[in-house]
């Protein structure tokens, strides 16, 4: 039995563990998602986000621990959990041979929607996600964004009050991502509780009321994005110097604050004095004979929170996992790029 304090929390997990052989995919996750919030589950690939979601959505049995969703135990009352939740899993697994309409009809049948209401409900959802015109086309002809929107529509067929979205925007272009964000906000404003997993810092920052950061199957930080960033404190000054001067630069930077994990090839320091201290740092580096190639001052981000908690930067953050470049989708959107995701090393 979950404690009474959790009675109004639609998602509660206590010591959730999942092992695959010797691999501890999830290693004691404690979560409590409050009614009506968007909860971001942030972490790199392989951190345990999807495994946690699969346990919470009854697809996978936990090795240990307990969880309730919509008040029901995910193991003992799996069927009741399924009646209460909507789920859009990673990769929008949709039969490409079926049309949008056919998929919605099948989903309606599986969820027991009365036959007389199926057409109306399907039409409403197609309109809601902007797929009315494509409703009779095979899903195989849909773009990635259309598939995601259809996936979302499918997950809403029974009007669930708890919605799980597993990396809903991975691989989407910036416009599709923004459209999906808007829809998630709209659903939330209508009272739907959303648990959203993501590897995109910006997505968690933009959408989530609260964020849990997971790494190696363990939640390392939890709170509102503002709280988490505030806890990091000082902004990070990032500099790039030649390899031969890295040691001298590190020594100089360490006089101004705590060194921070950065991407390979750059150095970072938390500047307690903020922007006013930048001049002093530059002067000190100059006096030490260090030639600075690049310099930037970043306000604390969730990536800094992640780095503080784990000692390394969020792998693949803001970029498709297949991308080798160091530019995030945020940069593709035209906003400030997130740096320092690949080839991490801890500089302190």
């Amino acid at each position: 039995m979950i404690a009474s304090a959790s009675q109004k929390s639609p998602i509660v997990a206590r010591g959730l563990v999942r092992h695959f052989g010797d691999v501890k995919a999830v290693d004691g996750v404690d979560l409590e998602v409050h009614a009506g919030e968007i909860f971001g589950f942030l972490g790199p690939n392989g951190a345990g986000k999807s495994t946690t979601v699969r346990m919470l959505t009854t697809l996978l049995k936990p090795t240990a621990g307990t969880a309730t969703v919509a008040g029901f135990d995910v193991v003992k009352q799996a069927d009741s959990v399924r009646r209460s939740i909507g789920v859009a899993l990673q990769d929008a697994a949709i039969d490409p041979l079926m049309t949008g309409n056919e998929l919605l009809e099948l989903q309606s049948v599986l969820y027991g929607i009365p036959a007389g209401s199926v057409r109306q409900r399907a039409d409403e959802l197609l309109e809601r996600v902007g797929l009315t015109a494509a409703a009779d086309r095979r899903v195989g002809t849909y773009s990635g964004g259309m598939r995601r929107r259809l996936d979302l529509a499918l997950s809403l067929i029974h009007q669930p009050t708890v919605l799980f979205l597993d990396e809903p925007t991975t691989g989407l272009d910036p416009m599709s991502r923004i459209t999906l964000w808007e829809e998630v906000r709209r659903l939330n404003s209508e009272g739907t509780t959303v648990l959203l997993t993501t590897q995109y810092l910006e997505e968690a920052d933009q959408l989530a009321d609260r964020v849990a950061i997971i790494d190696h199957g363990v939640i390392v930080q939890q709170g509102t994005p503002t709280e988490l960033k505030a806890a990091v404190g000082a902004p990070t000054l990032l500099i790039t110097v030649s390899a031969s001067q890295a040691e001298q630069a590190t020594s100089t930077l360490s006089r101004f604050g705590e060194l921070r994990p950065t991407a390979e090839g750059s150095l970072g320091v938390g500047l307690v004095g903020g922007a006013r201290q930048v001049t002093d740092v530059v002067r000190a580096l100059d006096e030490a004979g260090v030639s600075v190639h690049h310099l930037e001052l970043n306000e604390p981000s969730l990536d800094d929170v992640f780095a503080e908690a784990t000692g390394h930067r969020l792998e693949g953050a803001g970029a498709s996992s297949s991308n080798d470049d160091d530019v995030s989708p945020a940069a593709e959107d035209g906003s400030e790029p997130t740096r320092g995701r690949r080839g991490r090393r801890r500089s302190r």
């Binding site: 929390s9 009646r83 697994a93 599986l110 027991g112 929607i113 209401s117 109306q120 067929i157 009007q159």
Partner: protein, 280 residues
């Protein structure tokens, strides 16, 4: 907007029931199974390349075997003077088996693409995830068996057992399709990838050919005779052939019915256990 509420729900929330939520009523076994069967049939139309081999193979087998082994009718005591009468029911049973294995292939595809997770997350009875594909396999079987029969009659098959013989043939078809479906689904759920496909085909071919498929038991000897004698598929083939080898008798019928009931139940249990274990 339609609001679907089932406030009673199937069970009480463990957290005391104070959490206010809507919940789907959940699909019924029959409605969900029918929905899934229809999905399977649509795929025949939209991806005919996945179905045509299962249709053509038994037709080709019927023609090729009866043509190649026409001299089998010269064996003293052979129960028919037309080789097609011997091989046509075998081809029909092969087609029925392919129909079952075909849904195994579809399930592997669903498992690999993740679509099956969507089905598993639906609040519909587990049985419908097996019965839906099974219904689909039965419909495929009907199409295949009817087509093979039509070709068989066109090339000289003669029905000697009347309508009851045809009924027995279709019962055998349903039986083989059920056994093959259960076996194929069970393997798909356990292996979750194309390894299961190879195993489905290999085991099915062995099971159906280590019988009196090619020749009557009385001309077989040694280990092959022993295996064919105890192989339940021998009884199913005997049932399928009742309409083509003289008149329909209970002696030739009951063994096949027992084999279908036993193997069908075992295969369905194998599939059901595999499905239940998917989340472990």
């Amino acid at each position: 907007m339609t609001t679907i509420v089932n406030s009673a729900g199937p069970s009480r929330p463990v957290s005391g029931g104070s959490f206010d939520h809507t919940s789907a009523p959940g699909g019924t076994v029959l409605r969900s199974s029918a929905g899934l069967a229809i999905r399977g049939l649509r795929s025949i139309r939209r991806l005919p390349s996945a179905f045509i081999p299962a249709l053509m193979m038994p037709i080709v087998q019927a023609i090729a075997f009866s043509g190649t082994f026409f001299a089998i009718t010269k064996i003293p005591g052979f129960p028919t003077d037309r080789s097609i009468n011997w091989y046509l029911p075998l081809a029909c049973c092969m087609g029925a088996g392919f129909s079952g294995i075909g849904i195994g292939f579809s399930t592997i595809r669903d498992l690999e693409t993740g679509f099956f997770d969507r089905l598993r997350m639906a609040p519909t009875p587990t049985a419908s995830l097996i019965l839906g594909p099974l219904f689909g396999a039965w419909i495929r079987m009907m199409i295949v068996v009817t087509s093979v029969l039509a070709v068989g009659f066109a090339i000289g098959a003669r029905l000697t057992g009347g309508v009851l013989g045809i009924v027995n043939l279709y019962i055998a078809g349903f039986g083989v399709a059920t056994v093959a479906s259960g076996w194929a689904l069970g393997l798909a759920y356990r292996l979750k990838d194309m390894r299961a496909a190879a195993l489905m085909q290999l085991t099915f071919f062995n099971a159906i050919f280590l019988t009196n498929a090619q020749a009557p038991l009385f001309v077989m000897s040694g280990w092959l005779h022993t295996i064919a004698r105890v192989n339940p598929f021998t009884n199913i083939l005997r049932l399928a052939r009742t309409g083509f080898l003289g008149t329909v008798t209970w002696d030739d019928t009951w063994g096949g019915l027992v084999a279908i009931a036993g193997m069908g139940a075992a295969a369905m249990y194998f599939a059901w256990r595999g499905l239940r274990e998917l989340g472990n």
